[in-house]
């Protein structure tokens, strides 16, 4: 498993395999030291060193040029950029290693004595480059003993194919619409909204599709990763949204940053600061640019508002209103997320509200709306639990269960072949999150 994972990583990133191995080694060493000196001051020292080294490497490779650019802009300096290529998956494996050493410090898990097993945990190829962020505690037992049964193989394979279909058939198709929008010289307000919805759906299916593939593959190999998405677009509050979206990341920040900072068990000003800090960092985790930080801060404002009374109000409102509230702000947030910097974000948000002098609609807008209407509809329906619930109702009867069991394999085969067809017809096919 480890060899396969290292080969997988080297295949995509031959230069930085050493970096990942070094990070793993540091995590292993600090984990052993933390445990060896548990309940002493030295445990805290080694934990601090683990955090500093992990975040230090992440900072250099991901945020160095961002920091230099920001400094240059603020001071008028002209320090040259380092132009360091971002290693694939560094955000994911760094956070996994940090969660491991922090869990060892807390006593949640015992330090792994075998460097190979720890390396297997960190480098596990199903989730290495785009998550979910797997906690060591969740897979520790499985590192030692896994089972592979027909059920696990089939259900894992099913999940893998469904994830592949979500990514290739839906996310990539919606991505084409977004690309057409970006290249269009005939934008309109309506086209901006279509783009905003399309991108919100694209990023969901891209990321949740990849998570499904990772979870499915993990299951086939005997690992049980936790769910990373739980139909976030049915949320009735932003608070709920972030319990359903990229669950492994939001829970990581909650458990390893927000709660250690005191969470909400501090004074009001400190609590507000905690939320602001956590969400600014959540935003920056997604990308080294200020529009990502702003994206995170927008959620901070909404979360604070919900905690201070808006949340209670939302519970009293009709579900349609609260859903609408969530979708409105989430869709706009993704416009900010996908903008080319702060300037681009300002331009996009002005245009989407008709403040840029664009017409409401145009010929090209209507053409692409007609062309992608079914895809958008399918994606919207697919982002809700409607299909899952329908299947559950069918399965609840013996006959229905047999019907599903017979129909499922041909459907999966069709999806596999069609996803392959889409890949063959296209070319380069990057996952949106793999550069984090």
């Amino acid at each position: 498993m480890l060899l396969a994972s290292l080969f997988f990583y080297t295949w995509g990133e031959p230069k930085y395999i050493i970096l990942m191995l070094a990070s793993i080694l540091l995590g292993y060493g600090f984990g052993r030291l933390i445990q060896a000196f548990e309940k002493t001051m030295w445990a805290k020292v080694f934990l601090s060193l683990s955090i500093v080294s992990g975040l230090g490497l992440l900072g250099v490779f991901k945020y160095a040029d961002f920091s230099i650019q920001t400094f240059n802009r603020l001071t008028g300096s002209q320090f040259p950029l380092l132009k360091i290529a971002l290693p694939i998956g560094i955000s994911f494996y760094t956070f996994q290693i940090l969660s491991y050493t922090m869990d060892v410090y807390r006593g949640t898990v015992k330090a792994q004595k075998s460097p190979l097993k720890l390396a297997t945990y960190v480098a596990l190829f199903p989730q290495l480059i785009a998550g979910p962020i797997v906690r060591y505690a969740d897979v520790a037992a499985q590192l030692d003993a896994r089972e592979s049964t027909p059920e696990r193989l089939y259900t894992g394979l099913r999940r893998l194919i469904l994830g592949l279909a979500k990514k290739v058939l839906l996310a990539n198709t919606l991505g084409e619409l977004c690309a057409v929008f970006r290249a269009s010289g005939e934008k309109s307000v309506l086209f901006y909204w279509i783009y905003a919805v399309a991108f919100s759906l694209q990023i969901y299916f891209d990321f949740s599709g990849y998570s499904d593939m990772a979870i499915g593959m993990g299951r086939m190999f005997g690992f049980d990763f936790l769910e990373n998405f739980n139909y976030p677009y049915i949320s009735k509050s932003i608070t709920e949204f972030w319990r359903r979206w990229h669950i492994s990341l939001s829970s990581w920040f909650r458990d390893y940053l927000y709660i250690p900072l005191g969470g909400n068990r501090v004074s009001l000003p400190r609590w507000l600061l905690n939320i602001a800090l956590v969400w600014a960092l959540t935003g920056l985790w997604h990308g080294a640019a200020w529009n990502f930080a702003l994206w995170g801060m927008c959620f901070a404002v909404l979360l604070i508002a919900e905690k201070l009374g808006l949340g209670a109000l939302l519970k009293k409102l009709p579900p349609l209103v609260s859903h609408g509230y969530v979708l409105f702000f989430v869709v706009l947030s993704f416009v900010l997320f996908n903008a080319s910097g702060l300037g681009g974000a300002r331009q996009d948000l002005s245009a989407i509200f008709g403040l840029s002098g664009l017409p409401f609609s145009a010929e090209q807008t209507l053409y692409y709306l007609r062309s992608y209407a079914l895809v958008l509809l399918a994606a919207m329906v697919g982002s809700t639990p409607l299909c899952r619930d329908a299947l559950s109702r069918i399965r609840s009867s013996g006959r229905g269960e047999r019907l599903i069991r017979m129909a499922e394999p041909p459907v999966l085969i069709v999806l596999l072949l069609t996803a392959s067809a889409y890949l063959v017809d296209g070319s380069f096919n990057p996952f949106l999150y793999f550069r984090f």
Partner: protein
Amino acid sequence: MKKQIHFLPGLLCVGAVWLALALFCWFHPAQELSLSERRKLAQFPSPDVHSVLSGEFIPDFEEYTLDQFPFRDSFRTLKAVWTFYLFGQKDNNNIYIADGYAAELAYPLKEGSAAAAADKFTALYNRYMAGKVNRVYLSIVPDKGYFLAEANGYPSMDYRRLAEIMREGMPFASYVDITGHLALSDYYKTDTHWRQEKILDVANALVDAMGSDSAARGDYLEKTADIPFYGVYYGQSALPMAGESIRYLTNETLEACTAYHVETGQAAAVYDMEKLHSRDPYEVFLSGASPIVYLKNPNAASDRELLLFRDSFGSSLAPLLAEGYAKITLIDIRYIAGDYIGDYIDFDGQDVLFLYSSLILNNSTMLK
């Protein structure tokens, strides 16, 4: 145990398909060309230390795996079927099918591109032709979108504005509007090009506009190539469309004509029958793309000459103009830079016709 057995059939079915695909991918012999896409397919990249460490090897390998995927054409058809009929999308890779014709989404009009083309032609005129040639003419061949797009709910280029830009950018040229002499049925269903046997009206309109002797219009015998023709859009659309027939017009005059290709130094017949079995059978007309071709008519009634600045549409049109000219020089500035034209052409009293399709003018960066 019983529960586990329930999963075996599904696992074996799906697993078998996956395994079969994987084995096909690994052991399917590599193909050199894609006839449907008319291009070379990527081959296995040579792995060396530099290419692997620099990261060049991986993208090349990925391109190779996609290009060499077994039954590639069938999979592309599957994707096209899903796109059009399940997702209800109106185009696939910018190709749409309406009224049985495949066409390319040519939208919007890139005014800058058209203006740049007019500037290039003007520069050529100023450099080589001003004061030296007879009259200069300009004509634009509308692509199929002219007939299909708006009528079928597709975005349509502003063809009127295109003509306006070209006319304003080339005031020295007389514009000949041939759109009134064309209909959708004058084009191949699966290709960009028009059918030679259907454009006699166009040829006559140009001959009239250029003041060529009406007696120079010939009678033709229509011949049909014995192979089915699948045009460029057939491959791009990846949809199962019926093959068509290539027809060409010939007579004693054309049989006596020769086409001398400056690039190869070879003379050939007007219709190059070997090309019917090549990647692009449309190249039967004057052997396809060539920077400069001298089409000589030894039986011409006069010694008039024509300089035809053209794209591939000109290949099938030029033979229909041959009756009225002793020599037609076809110049394709996609394949020869303007700086070198003077090395091959003596500008002295010829008629000049700039004949380009709307698709080329809308993407004029390919003009050198």
